[in-house]
Amino acid sequence: MMRMKKGAAAVALGAAVAMTAAACSSGSTPSTTTASTAAAVAKGGTLYILNLGPHNGLDVQQSYVGADLQTANRVYMRYLTSYSTGANPKLVPDLATDLGTMSDGGKTWKFTIVDNAKWQDGAKVTCEDVKYGGSRTFATDLISNGPTYSLQFLDIPNDADGTSSYKGPYNGTGQALYDKAVTCDGQTLTLHFKTPWADFNQATAALGIFAPFPKAQDKADKSLFAPWSNGPYMLEGTFDPAKGGTWVRNPNWDAATDPIRKAYPDKIVDVEGIQGETVYQRLLADGGDDKTAITFGTAPPSVLPTIASTPGADKRMANVPAPYVDYIQPNMTSTAMSNPKVRQAFAMATNRDAYITANGGPQVMVPTYAMCNKVLACYKDFNPFGAPTAGDPDGAKKVLTDAGVAMPVNITVVYRKTPTRDKSFAALKETWDKAGFNVTLEGITDKYYRTISGAAMKTKDAFYASWGADWPSGSTDIPPLFDGRINITPTSSNQDYGYYNSDAANKAMDAAYLITDPAAREKAWGDIDEMISKDGGVIPLVNQKFTFVYGSGVKNFEVNTLFGGYADLANIAVK
């Protein structure tokens, strides 16, 4: 699960927010991507990035924040594979010579590392560095908050308590097991998985799980803000998570050896600690250094009218699909929602239009009925109960009446509290109540996802959440959220907040993993998506959209739909 940059979440004010993820899109690429003119660009200048902060970490094995991972990949950390730039980004090789070769039905992957990539001290990037970087994830005591797919997939046995028998490179326990699962022969890296992982090369582009790391430079958890660069820029001095830091050119990076990054600016200054509204006031004012500034936080709804009324701002604005899907998950274990008819009525009475209006209108989000984002190949156009986007409270009431349910049905809906969401859930409540529910809204401010997955919340009836796929595949959408077997424990629902655990869906997920043809596999995820919705297991609300404004001196501004919809730093220029 990839999380959204806090800057966007700053959203105290607004927009959406939340947890989750990165990528989206494969195949269908949205046409809204704004690429500024192909005007002549030159090297030089300083690019400023204005963010709310504090920064979560620069160590890609300890980061799950979409915008941060994208920045890392473009600025200081090349991965095995990456996404190309432009309006139609594709999966491309980066540190590897090709996209890797899969064998044994997806259980074995082979990559050859390029010979001419160098670290910031001039040392060569070796296969051993990649292998070492991948091993860090296993040191769960020191390396945390990063993706944990390696623990789940790599062919390393588990201890009796369910944790991996390999405890990471610092402790060394089980090192032989890792050395067997991941091998280096010269510059050739071979990985062995327990179960097929057909889109592994997508994971290596979207996440830092197999980003290289030289063992000599590793300070374990202390590496969080001490990155070691193999990309076009390296850190100057130190990075203060609350204030930011400065990236300068890496003398050992050679443009000729890098197919993706153009690295036009001489310097990139990351400024943390600026409130969302302030960021946009500065970008719209477009003065001084802010002329060459961008941000990763989407514009809060209250800023949108100001953008519209600022002359020329429309020429330096992008309104693009974001990877995040807001949804409500009914709790299958609650008294009310364990009745499928009640879930159906609840879903039918859901007013997506009111939710969107309360969040700032169609520029901020578009309605959806599917958990797969509309830009993903797994997206399937369906409407489980035929209710319009404005909801059908009368139809819902009829469902409740026909089912003989005593009305009003008292339910508690839990959501992540912000002033904007207070309003959007009040708007949802109106049609729910009209349909025969009596909704109590409970807003939670702190540690939202940790709280709702805890046992104390097991009696609540429905939960709000927001999710974006880690990489463009339904496999990072459906199983992480709806496979009860991997999520539900006695003390926590983990990411399956509604305790959804259906045998039929689980069986279908197992089958989908085994499909090797990517198109057929994505279609299968779409079918499961529909199956869960028809079961009333989830009520997807909207696909979020990002609105960015950038300074008038920024050229080649483009967002990368595969990289979470954020500004792509590979081509960006300020001269």
Partner: protein, 353 residues
């Protein structure tokens, strides 16, 4: 002037004996001279009459009094108005907020005949209805919290002042301890734990709405009580040496009688004054909590929650920012002025002439 419940008693008049009960004759009124022929009849006035007379002459206080009564009355009938449909705090009007960023259409945040103060961006709910029903919530919390502080503070203050010695030391130090806590911070950090605890004490099923009103009343009231207790203690310290207390004691009155029958009647004046001063402080505190997101569950309106939302619209929709802010300002100002005026009337020595 706002009095924070945590403010130490550095006010010169705070520990003074309330003069209304000591001074029999209003110095400002014509003195009726005894034994002068043809003089007007001696006008004996009770302390209460004197206070009322002074109050009536203080125009600012009378206006503040009128405003306070108006606000309280409005807040009291708001639930009734909402029930008969004159106020519609929860009715959304998405058709009124269709623009970019869902801003209200029309001037001044969508002011119209049906929406006198405009509508809320995003939902189109009527702002006037939200403010008035929000006032009910905020005033209820503030009043109950103040009442809690007064009751607990008075009892502890009397005991502390009268008992003296070790009991006094212990109670005074615990008051210092409470006063030294940063109350807002405590509220924020305690809410998760305490709300659940209160719910289980009240025997609520966990699916019921969390008892946030009870929580806010208890915590605001708790952090406000030392303020009263210290003032009462100061009064009692001087009162307990007075003859009538000595007399009652010599006659063998019990403690309960001494506390509540002998001492309490002499304490109503400072209690009244400081209640009117702590009340607006609690209104502000409730608003601040709502602002920080601790407040009640939506769609229940409270002034703090409304203010919290308006801040981000200060530029694009100034009217929406303006009306709730002004309401809180007027509400707090009128109670503060009323408190000041009351104090002046009850204690001419500390006047502001």
């Amino acid at each position: 002037m706002t009095v924070a419940p945590g403010e130490p008693e550095n006010r010169s008049d705070a520990s003074a004996v309330p003069v209304a009960s000591a001074v029999a004759v209003d110095p400002g009124s014509p003195v009726a001279l005894d034994g002068v022929d043809g003089a007007v009849a001696i006008a004996g006035r009770t302390p209460w009459q004197i206070v009322m007379r002074r109050l009536r002459r203080d125009r600012v206080t009378m206006v503040a009094f009128g405003a306070s009564v108006f606000f309280v009355a409005l807040a009291a009938i708001a639930p009734l108005l909402a029930r008969i449909g004159i106020l519609n705090p929860d009715q959304t009007h998405p058709e009124l907020v269709q623009g970019l960023g869902s801003m209200p259409e029309g001037l001044m945040g969508g002011v119209s005949w049906s929406h006198w103060l405009g509508v809320e961006p995003g939902t189109g709910r009527d702002l006037l209805s939200r403010i008035v029903t929000g006032m009910t919530t905020s005033l209820t919390v503030a009043l109950l919290a103040t009442l809690f502080s007064v009751v607990v503070g008075t009892i502890i203050g009397i005991i502390s002042g009268f008992a003296g010695g070790r009991v006094d030391w212990l109670l005074s130090r615990s008051m210092d301890l409470v006063l030294s806590f940063p109350s807002t911070l405590m509220l924020l950090s305690l809410q998760a734990v305490l709300v659940d605890r209160i719910a289980s004490i009240m025997g609520q099923p966990s699916s019921a709405p969390p008892p946030k009103i009870a929580f806010m009343v208890l915590v605001l009231g708790f952090f406000g009580f030392p303020f009263f207790a210290r003032i009462i203690r100061g009064q009692v310290l001087s009162l307990r040496e007075r003859e009538f207390v000595e007399a009652a004691r010599s006659l063998g009155a019990r403690r309960g009688r001494l506390y509540f029958k002998e001492l309490l009647p002499h304490l109503w004046a400072p209690l009244l004054v400081y209640t009117t001063l702590v009340l607006p402080a609690n209104i502000s505190a409730e608003a601040a909590l709502g602002f920080l997101g601790v407040g009640l569950n939506p769609p229940t309106a409270s002034l703090g929650a409304i203010l919290n939302d308006t801040v981000s619209y200060a530029l694009p929709d100034p009217a929406y920012f303006f009306f709730p802010g002004v309401t809180v300002f007027l509400l707090v100002l009128s109670f503060n002025l009323l408190g000041d005026g009351l104090r002046d009337a009850l204690d001419p020595k500390a006047g502001r002439q």
